[in-house]
Amino acid sequence: EFFFPNVTGIPPSRLLNTTRNLWDAFRNFTGCRPGVDGLYKLKQYFQRFGYIPENFSGNFTDDFDDILRHAIEMYQRNFRLNVSGELDELTVRHLVIPRCGNPDIVNGSSAMHGGKKYEVNFAGRRGQRFHALKR
């Protein structure tokens, strides 16, 4: 049911229903800065792909906190975007592109950026201590 020899073989009704995905909602966050609500799903996205450690022990809030800012910076670094820590238009445009489900950062270490290792240290409590260390 889900294989098509070419795009013309896909029923139009199916295409109309599937041109948007879960992550398209992130477009609403374009340009948002600290103080904007509704960001916990974005934190879940970053955790899924390794930008927030799996062992983060607290519940995600809608706060634009240091956890999110550092995740955005790491993401921007890995995707060679302008590293601002902000959800600018280009960053959000990248976030919603379909992708591989494997994480970009494994066990807190990213080797994606030009062979340089970045290690994420996180104290485990929200907002307490979270920083990226360039090695």
């Binding site: 294989f3 098509f4 070419n6 995905n21 379909p98 992708r99 591989c100 489900g101 270490s109």
Partner: protein, 192 residues
Amino acid sequence: YSLFPGEPRWPEDRRQLTYAFDPRNALTEEVKGVFGRAFARWAAVTKLTFTRVETFPDSDITIGFYTGDHGDGEPFDGVLGTLAHAFSPPSGRFHLDSDENWVVSGDVGGILSMTSAVDLESVAVHEIGHLLGLGHSTIEDSIMYPTISTGRRKVELTRDDIDGIQYLYGTNPNFNGSSPPSTQQRESSDFG
């Protein structure tokens, strides 16, 4: 290119790998052939070989299409979003999201860029890289770049991909070492 932590790879005595498809998917030969072509791209540059077998549980690499929570702790999320994932060596597990609109032939025309259709071979080549030990790359044109837009066909290994896989497994003696196609050449074969 990048590698998984600890640089896991298939051991020396397991370089002639077998792959099999989950029989529950009942895939057609056309679909299976897409994976065969994807494996061949990696085999062309390394000493690894890949042979299709029918004994799913016993093969080195197992390929299956699943939806939602399929038991490995990494549930799929419906159309688009995450498309597939694969485990580092020597796990051999390769899972694809059956909710996607997978296109098995490259002849699709420009309309694909406006749809949710995803080129199966492009994703297969990427995930096989993970199965062999490669992580994600920051090189946007490389196969191992984490994202792929709908409407894009990207199946040719780049120098970055080749350097990574040859670091892990050495060079195929028959690989002539010629440069991979230029970005411009590859772009011209993209859908849309």
